[in-house]
């Protein structure tokens, strides 16, 4: 991204002159105060909002000029994890995790083995037919991770995935994301939990008032 700028219709400038490169396979923490532009940057990376000016290339696609169909393609190759999980509480864990595959046209009979496999990975294989409300906050976040990884995305965007979790559960969530990253998935994670960087080091991109305030590798 070069000289990236985002101004919302309300007039608020979320990002201003941001120039940054994130390579395939990196684990990147986006840090900064509330309103620094972390969530806006993540939104732009999956086409939720378009840059007002500047250049943003995501997965070889110019996000300013991309058609709706290209944006859909990007979203199919991107796993998104939200702070509030965005799980469907009227649907089972299976239905929640299967949703990205369903969107991509998978047949129902192929879904179950794949969903079971990713739930096994996050340690929830016995909760396949449970409803999210029966799960703890940490389990719900693990379901959200399972949903994000189920379609084998090239990139995972995580918007404060540990925000509502206790330290131990947050560490476990980070373990999963780190593990996915080791398997080649690019992970970009907005967070306030700076203490996690000690146990799970990575590249840190610091934003302040919509601008780049720091970019370093934390070991």
């Amino acid at each position: 991204m070069q000289q990236l700028m985002l101004r919302y219709p309300t007039g608020k400038t979320a990002l201003s002159g941001l120039t940054l490169d994130i390579l395939q396979g990196q684990f990147v923490y986006l840090v900064g105060e509330s309103g620094a532009g972390k969530s806006s940057l993540l939104k732009m990376l999956y086409g939720g909002v378009r840059p007002s000016s500047g250049l943003l290339m995501a997965q070889q696609i110019d996000m300013r000029q991309a058609s709706e169909s290209r944006i859909r393609d990007i979203r199919r190759r991107t796993g998104i994890i939200f702070q509030d999980h965005k799980l469907l509480f009227a649907r089972t864990v299976f239905e929640n995790v299967a949703l990205p595959l369903r969107v991509q046209g998978w047949k129902t009979e192929r879904l179950i083995p794949r969903v079971r496999k990713v739930l096994q990975y996050v340690g929830l294989e016995d909760r396949l037919w449970s409803y999210p409300e029966a799960l703890s906050g940490g389990e719900q976040q693990r379901v959200a991770i399972a949903r994000a990884m189920t379609a084998n995305p090239a990139v995972i965007l995580a918007d404060e995935p540990t925000g509502n979790l206790d330290v131990e559960t947050a560490r476990r969530v980070l373990d999963y994301l780190m593990d996915l990253n080791k398997q080649g998935t690019t992970v970009i994670m907005a967070t306030h939990d700076l203490h996690l960087l000690k146990s799970h080091p990575g590249r840190v991109v610091q934003l302040h008032a919509g601008s780049l305030a720091g970019d370093y590798i934390d070991y």
Partner: protein
Amino acid sequence: MTTEVIPDRVNTRLPGGFNLPPFGVHQILALIIVCIALWAVGVLWLGMQTAGQWVGSWQDDIHIHVYLDTQKADNAKELEQGLAAIPQVASVRLISQQEAARWMQEWLTGGGLQQDELAKRLPITFELSLSDERSQFLFADIRDTARRFGGKVNEDEVNLAQVHDLLSQAGLLAWFASLIMAVAMALIISNTLRMTLLARADEIHLMRLLGAKEWFVRTPFILEGMVLGAGAGVSAWLLLWPVELAVGEWLNTMQVDLNIWILLLPLLFGGAVVGSFGALIATARVVSSEASA
């Protein structure tokens, strides 16, 4: 790849595509309201069917009578020839005064009148059989001819003969009423689906975030509208049978035989089309708003 059996208790209702969303109380209420509206449309068209058959049962036998005062008896021959010259008049018959008096006495069921005395007071009467009562200028021609020779047309009979005009106007009104009902039903279904859409806004938003195509997001709701409309149509058709049972026998005495089956497909498909249209209206502006700070 191993295939796994879904447990019996579990009903996988994956959202999107050709999967119907679950029916709730809003949908059932909408189905009832649309069913009542479609039933009213069905009753309206049954009424049209009844009117058509009833009119058809006696319209073929209708005759127009033209009267000529006995003081103008000299014009009778010319009037008869003039009436016979009208192309849509099949035949002209001079009714004798005795026959007219006899008929009138029968009609008055005795009445205590002297038939000879009555015959003297009756005008000269011509009975016209028509070959095409729908012809545009036929009745104007008959009136003109009668007036030219001092005669007079029985206007009540003319009105009866022209009842098909009224029927076709009533038919247009029935179409208009059906159209208004269809729009109202589409709006009712649209409103119901709108509530469902609002209730499931998170799900729709999530599907879009995952890269779902618009047809994938909207199809379940359009299917729901279609099923709702078609269900209401079939229910409305079933509810027409009690009407048939209630009045069918009485209508038979008027040589009217109601055919309910003919309304099944129009109500079924009409309901489905109206439901789909309502769903299209409802889903036309489903926007997942993200571009706000």
